[in-house]
């Protein structure tokens, strides 16, 4: 399990390649990458991500441990950034490995659903007209119901 909470950018290509290369006996690797969107109306100037140092690492480790127990994954990687990010910058990534594809997909979706609503991060969108905290979506809370 490799959990990193950092302000610095990460190298998606290098992380994905290294993750896949270090798996043993796994048939499937899934990655998810979250990117700061640049909406068509050009409103978003930046995104500011706040987190709760100490609890963040613990919460993510707990979520990853649950996924690893449930799906017998090979390995799990989570990288999540905080601080100010510009549009098209990568916010975070997860990678999962499993013997079969369904398990790798499910573990990755589980991680994402829980990271969305159970890891202590808060996003603020900073535009020309001011800044707004991103509201949690009912959909995201509901997504946890399927696990």
């Amino acid at each position: 399990m490799d959990i990193r909470v950092q302000a610095e950018p990460f190298d998606l290509g290098a992380e994905t390649a290294a993750f896949a290369a270090r798996q043993q006996g796994m048939g499937a690797v899934v990655t998810f990458t979250g990117i700061v969107r640049d909406p068509p109306d050009g409103g978003l100037g930046a995104m500011e991500i706040e987190h709760y140092p100490g609890m963040t690492e613990k919460a993510i480790s707990g979520i990853a441990a649950k996924a690893a127990t449930r799906w017998n994954t090979g390995d799990i990687l989570v990288i999540h950034r905080y601080g100010r990010l510009a549009p098209s910058e990568m916010i975070m990534m997860v990678a999962t490995a499993a013997v079969h594809r369904a398990e790798a997909f499910q573990a990755a979706e589980f991680l994402m659903d829980y990271l969305k609503s159970r890891a202590p991060f808060w996003k603020k969108e900073i535009g020309e007209q001011g800044a707004d905290w991103v509201a949690a979506k009912a959909d995201d809370e509901a997504a946890l119901g399927r696990w």
Binding site: M112, F121, A135
Partner: protein
């Protein structure tokens, strides 16, 4: 006890962290004490449904006991990922 605030809760309270002397047995009791202090607390804690709480860095609810707790944190629903 350390009390931490994040996101718009931190902005309404006006600080990220403070040390509070309290004998409140539960989170809900602590919230009552804080509300009574100043308008900014009353504003931050106006709607508990819009808030989440962690005791010693574990997500919990407002009825959680504070016995032995070293750190309580208040924040809005999380928006990670």
């Amino acid at each position: 006890m350390d009390v931490l605030y994040f996101a718009w809760v931190r902005e309404r309270i006006g600080q990220p962290k403070e040390t509070v002397e309290t004998t409140a047995p539960t989170v809900r009791d602590l919230v009552k004490e804080l509300r009574g202090r100043e308008e900014r607390y009353a504003a931050a804690f106006a709607d508990l449904d819009a808030l989440r709480v962690a005791v010693d860095q574990e997500l919990t609810d407002f009825d959680a006991s504070l016995a032995g707790a070293r750190e309580v944190a208040f924040f809005p629903p999380m928006t990670g990922g």
